[in-house]
Amino acid sequence: MALNYTKKTVNHFLKPKNVGEVKNADAQIEVGNMVCGDQLSFSMKLKDGKIKDIKFLSFGCASNIATASLMTEKVKGMTIAQAKKFSWKDIVDDLGGLPKQKIHCSMMAVEGLQRLINSYEDRLKIKQA
């Protein structure tokens, strides 16, 4: 099996950014599960319509950890509108490519981000109602 990671992916795996849980989070979600082999937990705090802080926990392979790390790094500081446009392709490009069978990791990270935003917006709607 060809499973060569780029230096950048390896670095994110060895020294992942933004691990942990954000205190007093505005949204917190989980994607995946242990049965399918990847599980990510994300939490996020917003300020003035921007992502002020975002953190993750991972039960997953090296690329699961690396893609979540890179994603949190990239979207921190973005507005919700900008974050909604963030694509898994941005992760793959930024890492300098991912092995074919690991592309799904980048998709799972972005799925986590989108669900985080949905969860935040749902809460906002309920508060406003």
């Binding site: 242990m34 090296a62 950890i65």
Partner: protein, 383 residues
């Protein structure tokens, strides 16, 4: 420091084996099927090696043929015996923890009109003999159970399985790839009618293996179009590989008792140290019916491939299961068959020791694994 603990995937070639092979890759390059002296000299070596290998396995020389490895041998035996013995029956039985070259081939045969039953195993991976007795029928042509499992090292009761197969007139095949030199094999006495082996699992070269089918058993070809192997397998003889396999097998059994003692001592030391140093770990399968070089360990709350990759970056080479099952990134069917819960299937690491490991390497492994596990658990979402 580099530590290789993946000896069930492949082994490093023994320098003595390489030395024995070299002449056949250089000056003794003749085709063993050629009539002239350069060919016939090699033909003599070919047949001497065949007899020596058969002798070590207590098998009949004329039943042994050379293949590219055990995957080919497994394909040849399953497909060849089933298709040539339809008069006997179209029923095939394999165990639940076979290598994919048996399991996948068996499934393909069942799609092609043969009947397949999978024999269940217990928590140690041993075939449930009572269940097997009920599964084997009058129209069973072949029962196939591996001697030693590649993922958890389970040693099967081959003689008992052979008896169950023979009681119904079925042939018994065993994939003995992981059994050399861990088991002392006497094919005749044990009732093994057919077997498959591969040299690179016992310090020989890659790309060479053998299939044994007891003379008298009908079997169809997998590879046709040449008179090699009495017309049973076409393709120029890989003489360097064959000589390498012969030498490796001879050394494996000559040095067996010391090797087994050494590898078991190191394996037990690794397990003892891991239990002492790392919390939340479990051994998959038991120790009693396990080959002396194998450990397969579940690490609570963290994922196997992340452990593997972290260790690899520290120069320690292990596996998450079989190299083949890692390929499709699906969790192990062997661990599933011995009863692991679905959520435990992605937390496992296989350590397989070998001749070239030493205590210093084991200490280095434990020290680093402790760091790896602590690092990954620090950001696990699993409580």
């Amino acid at each position: 420091m580099n530590v290789y603990l993946d000896n069930a995937a492949t082994t490093r070639i023994d320098p003595r084996v390489l030395k024995a092979m070299m002449p056949y890759l250089s000056e003794k390059y003749g085709n063993a099927s050629s009539i002239h002296a350069l060919g016939q000299d090699n033909n003599l070596i070919l047949e001497q090696t065949r007899a020596a290998i058969a002798g070590l396995l207590k098998a009949e020389t004329s039943g042994l043929l050379f293949t590219s490895g055990a995957s080919e041998a497994n394909n040849y035996i399953l497909r060849g015996i089933m298709s040539a013995n339809k008069a006997k029956g179209k029923h095939l039985v394999v165990s639940a923890i076979e290598h994919p070259s048996v399991l996948q081939t068996a499934r393909e045969l069942s799609r092609a009109g043969y009947e397949l039953d999978i024999a269940p195993v217990d928590a140690d991976g041993r075939v449930d003999l009572k269940a097997l007795k009920k599964i084997v029928r009058e129209d069973t042509a072949l029962v196939s159970v591996m001697a030693v499992n590649n993922e958890i090292g389970t040693i099967q009761d081959l003689e008992a399985i052979a008896q169950i197969a023979h009681a119904k007139g079925a042939y018994f095949h065993s994939d003995i790839v992981q059994a050399i030199p861990y088991l002392r094999l006497d094919l005749k006495k044990m009732g093994i009618d057919a077997c498959s082996l591969s040299a690179h699992k016992f310090y020989g070269p890659k790309g060479i293996g053998a299939s044994y089918v007891r003379p008298g058993i009908k079997i169809n070809n997998l590879i046709s179009g040449g008179e090699q192997e009495n017309g049973r397998r076409a393709g120029t003889y890989n003489l360097a590989g064959i000589v390498g396999m012969g030498t490796a097998l001879e050394l494996a059994y000559k040095e067996r008792s010391v090797y087994l003692k050494d590898v078991k001592l190191l394996r037990d030391y690794l397990w003892k140290s891991l239990k002492k140093e790392i919390p939340e770990i479990k051994l998959n399968g038991g120790l009693k019916y396990r080959s002396a070089n194998n450990l397969n360990i579940r690490f609570g709350r963290i994922e196997g491939e992340a452990i593997l990759m972290d260790l690899s970056l520290r120069g320690i080479y292990v596996s998450t299961g079989s190299a083949c099952s890692a390929h499709n990134l699906k969790s192990s069917s062997v661990l599933s068959a011995i009863g692991l819960a679905d959520y435990d299937l992605n937390c496992n690491i296989r350590f397989t020791l070998g001749r070239f490991n030493n205590k210093k390497e084991i200490d280095y492994t434990v020290k680093n694994l402790k760091k790896t596990v602590a690092r990954l658990r620090a950001f696990s979402p699993v409580k």
